[in-house]
Symmetry: none
DNA sequence: GCTAAATTCACCCTAAAGTATGACCGAAAT
DNA sequence: ATTTCGGTCATACTTTAGGGTGAATTTAGC
């Protein structure tokens, strides 16, 4: 955009204009008060202005643009399906490995009888384990146990 | 680095040096063959060189660096807690509103008695509803019903 | 080697869950 | 007007879950 270009090089343009105005002012004053031929100074001033412009143009043309790369990290929300066991919570409850086995199968909706068959132990054993789990999780029912265990990240 | 700076502005410096050399060459030739006072041209050349340098310096100093913004997508693993009900799955099961109410409270670990009190109906009503839910979800136990309902995104 | 904790199992008993069946009511659909 | 469906409730019965207690065996730490 034209406006964008102007605002971008505002200082450079301002410098050039100011220099030109200053020179003209000086010349005008000289002509007004001293009737002397100052063509040399005028000539020098013109050359200065022109070559300053040339230098600016050259520099802008030839110098590689200063690029500042700003890296912005954009959050990409991803559904985290990776379950990380909360060992701290597990230790706090004091649930043993075997009890955790029972709890896991419980969470899959198995009955005590099915869990017993799955783990090759008796139904009574599972009852004991599940009772211990309930006590350690401070709940009364298996559904509550599963719910709480999931909340504590003890099970997926 | 100094070397980096030189290589970066190689062309600019070359231009300046070439201009200076050219001027000196001209002056030297003039002095050698024509014995005339060419101080004005020498003066102009000096001014030209100096102001070209000034322009270059100015431009380099004042030119605003172009900023390039690069967005890098960073994966942020987040537990997506936004639950979206799978209405298609719900319709498929044929579970009614009331049955869903019971299922939700079931998932919270409440007993049939507690659900009955919560919904201001009798225990038998809850038993009927839960039995219907089990049949519609093709399961036998409440724990399985909760597990399956969660898998189907019928409940959070 | 001894002790403590974990694992296993048994028996009894109560509470809760689940099955089956039938019935009533009201709203919506045919 | 009749049927269908959802919601309500009841009764009878079976199965499962859960509490309490005790005990044998194994495992792991000191």
């Amino acid at each position: 955009m034209t406006f964008g270009y102007i605002s971008k090089h505002k200082q450079t343009i301002l410098y050039g204009v100011a220099l030109a105005v200053l020179l003209f002012l000086l010349k005008w004053l000289e002509w007004r008060f001293i009737i002397v031929d100052h063509t040399i100074e005028l000539y020098a001033g013109c050359i200065a202005v022109i070559f300053t412009g040339l230098g600016v143009w050259l520099a802008l043309k030839l110098s590689k643009p200063k690029t500042t790369v700003i890296t912005v990290e954009k959050e990409l929300r991803v559904n985290d399906s990776t379950f990380v066991l909360n060992e701290a919570a597990l230790d706090e409850t004091g649930i043993s490995k075997r009890e955790l086995d029972v709890l896991l199968l419980m969470a899959e909706g198995l009955s005590n009888q099915e869990i017993a068959e799955r783990l090759f132990v008796s139904l009574n054993t599972i009852k004991t384990h599940s009772s211990n789990v309930f006590a350690k999780l401070d709940v009364e029912r298996r559904t509550q146990a599963v719910e709480k265990a999931k909340r504590l990240s003890i099970i997926p």
